[in-house]
């Protein structure tokens, strides 16, 4: 076979292969044309290896500075936000709340308790600390952060959920915590759930772009330039003007058998932790099981067991528990937008009920 030497390696190639190799060697992509690999084109006259490295270092240094600047801009913007969820968080973290009554809980707290109604009925200032997608561990952490920055309340309304004893297995909507990772209580709680949260704290932009898919950074930049989102949080209360969705029917179809919620020892310890914090600070604690759609209640197979645990706490620590499992409207879908959450209409009715009961309770106290 007639063989030809490769110009580069001296290896023997057939003419056909040789030309194919050469063709491939200098082929360019349709998408991006590249400089030849031998580096013969050098428009900037970068002759020295050192100057090349220096230039690359400068470019990446500039990118790094950009990362830090952008991160600072977003964080600063979010911390300056006056409205919506971040506005509400900022009130808490800047110590501007100082309410007499606070509501602690998950989204079921956030969308169901209207502090304005509580204030009007009881005559005491109130604030809602409910956070979307949280379990007791994060709720307690946020409450501790609240105590760190605000005057302690005299009463805490702790909204109970069927999943109150389930611990967090992932951080829901992590971007909401990003501007406040300096807070010890929040950071420690988050680190327990996700040990890699340090990356969000120390690596610029990591928390906003890697961990978040809601473009929270866009809101941060908007807020940095003075644009705050429309107000939808009122003293921490986030009413939902929604009608009943078909989520529950789909959930039922997906779970033809009953569902159960874990009772994790760590979850029980989190509730205990909240009780101890309140006890230590001389805060009156009230457990409230807010309304839940009746059929969902019937779907929960271990509901009695979960309530037994709630009762153990109430008996042991003499905590009042207001159970709204038999709320008169708990089968009326016009008061709910899904099985776990009241819509704005339901929240208004429920807040009035709670406020009235609280007024009587405080008067009796």
């Amino acid at each position: 076979m007639l063989l030809q030497k490769s110009a580069r390696s001296g290896q023997l190639l057939s003419p056909k292969t040789y030309s194919a190799v050469m063709e491939r060697q200098y082929a360019v992509s349709d998408e991006l044309e590249l400089a030849p690999v031998d580096g013969s084109v050098d428009p900037d006259q970068v002759q020295h290896r050192f100057s090349g490295v220096l230039r690359l270092a400068c470019f990446f240094g500039m990118i790094l500075v950009l990362f830090f600047l952008m991160n600072a801009m977003i964080t600063s913007g979010l911390r300056r936000t006056k409205t919506s969820a971040f506005g509400s968080w900022n009130q808490v973290m800047e110590g501007k709340v100082n309410a007499d009554i606070v509501v602690v809980g998950s989204s079921r707290a956030s969308v169901q308790y209207d502090p304005r109604t509580i204030e009007a009925v009881t005559g005491h200032s109130a604030y809602n600390l409910g956070i979307n997608g949280t379990q007791t561990d994060m709720q307690v952490a946020f409450f501790k952060a609240y105590l760190e920055h605000n005057r302690k309340p005299h009463t805490v309304l702790f909204n109970l959920d069927a999943f109150a004893f389930v611990t967090s297995h992932e951080v829901f909507n992590p971007a909401q915590y990003m501007p406040y990772l300096y807070d010890r209580a929040l950071y420690d709680a988050l680190r327990k759930i996700n040990p890699e949260i340090w990356k969000s704290r120390y690596l610029p932009l990591y928390g906003y772009v890697v961990e978040d898919m809601n473009y929270t950074w866009v809101h941060g930049i908007e807020a940095f330039f003075g644009h705050s989102p429309a107000e939808d949080y009122f003293l921490g209360f986030n009413p939902r003007y929604r009608s009943w969705s078909s989520d529950f029917e789909r959930y039922q179809a997906a779970n033809p058998k009953k569902v159960s919620f874990d009772i994790e020892p760590a979850g029980v310890a989190d509730v205990e932790d909240l009780i101890q914090v309140c006890k230590k600070n001389g805060i009156d604690l009230i457990f409230i099981y807010s309304p839940e759609y009746k059929q969902m209640q019937m779907m929960t197979s271990n509901r009695a067991e979960i309530f037994d645990h709630f009762r153990k706490f109430t008996e042991q620590y003499n905590i009042p528990m207001w159970d709204y499992s038999d709320w008169p409207h708990d089968s009326d879908t016009s008061f709910f937008y899904n099985s776990q959450h009241l819509n704005a209409t339901g929240a208004a009715a429920f807040s009035l009920d709670v406020a009235d009961r609280l007024r009587q309770y405080l008067t009796a106290q």
């Binding site: 057939s14 292969t17 400089a35 690999v37 690359l56 950009l66 961990e211």
Partner: protein
Amino acid sequence: MLFNSLQFAIFFPIVVGGYFLLSQRWRVPWLLAASCLFYMAFIPSYILILLVTILIDYFAGIYIERMEGHGRKTLLWVSILSTCTVLFIFKYYGFFVGSFVSVVQLLGWNLPRPVLSIILPIGLSFHTFQSLSYVIEVYRGNQRAERNFLVYATYVMFFPQLVAGPIERPQNLLHQFRDWHEFSYVNVTAGLKRMAWGFFKKLVVADRLALYVNDVYTYPRAYNGLQLTIATVFFAYQIYCDFSGYSDIAIGAAQVLGFRLMENFRTPYYSLSTSEFWRRWHISLSTWFKDYVYVPLGGSRVRKNRHIFNLLVTFGVSGLWHGANWTYVIWGLLNGFYLVFGWLTKEWRDRLFALFGLQEDTRIRKVIMLASTVVLTCFAWIVFRARNIGDAAYVFTHLGSGWNFHQIATEQFLLRQMPVAIASILVLEIGQLWGRAVSVPNLIQKLPLPARWTLYASLVMTVVMFGIYKKTQFIYFQF
């Protein structure tokens, strides 16, 4: 190790820095060590499988070169069969046994279904094929057997293209490990730009579209025709951006080190026929199958029926290469059918176009051909992406039904993602069209330094800010 991971962001500069600081003697061991580390970041013990393949083909290459007569051919087959056995055990054993048991059960015999749960080593098909091409080229006399084990091992394991190609040929890559690569600012920056473009395709386009596609194709029956159509179009972009993005990163990373890898994609969706599509899609694999399966079968220089057979076999095997599932085989055969149909009807179609006065170079004819190629390719992607044949049939039959413009979003892909998804596709298309018309890097090079850096920094920031970082692997890793 994923290219889109923090580990790689640390790993890569260290490897590059070390490579250029070391003397030639230590560069290959350095690259080999880096490649081992890169591979072992997935499942460390699987490097032993790779070692087995490397050892088999390393010694096979040397002995094939030394031997003469029939012994060479026997040794070639021993080498091919041994390498393919590893691939078969890890990739196809469960599939073939499962299919056999299903057939037997259909015949009424009660045969228990064997349970063998093996995780497929990442990129097994890629390095197996690269290894095979080496042995075959040595056998054909196009390549000298490599005596230096470290060089050969690095050729198989070179980390930029280890897990998803391009599947290199020894004539192109092997000698480059012996070449001295001087640090070149132009090469490094060109490589980095190529990597940035690859990251844009992967993180900004592919992984965002994947949110939609995964939702819809996991339970297609829960979605309406419009959502099925969007998911199918999105998948066409997703798989292209995922895989060509990987190739861009691989080629760019190699170029930073001074290596030249072969091109793997040439804007395949701008093809005017399926055969052209396959000349522009996953070029390193298409040419592999052409060189080592299609041509040895006789290629096109045979009788008509045999030619059809050759095409279908090549595409059927190519489908099976992609995965151990009948959907892949059908996908391959469907593409083979497109080619056969296109070849058989070419005259008839030419006459039809001529009837309407549409000569080959007319724009309308090109648009029709381009659109029909894209549609046919998308239909084929349905079979490729569906979990099973039943799902694929469902998607096919429901694409046009129940369109609801008020129900577009999915669970993971909220409507706020849609503008970014569409914008990213537009940027991609503009970038590609622009790249076809002019040499973009040369154009940018003419700008003053501040403008150039601003442009590059903007690209980096766009990728960083709009990327999706859900730790998603590249689609082709599974093959």
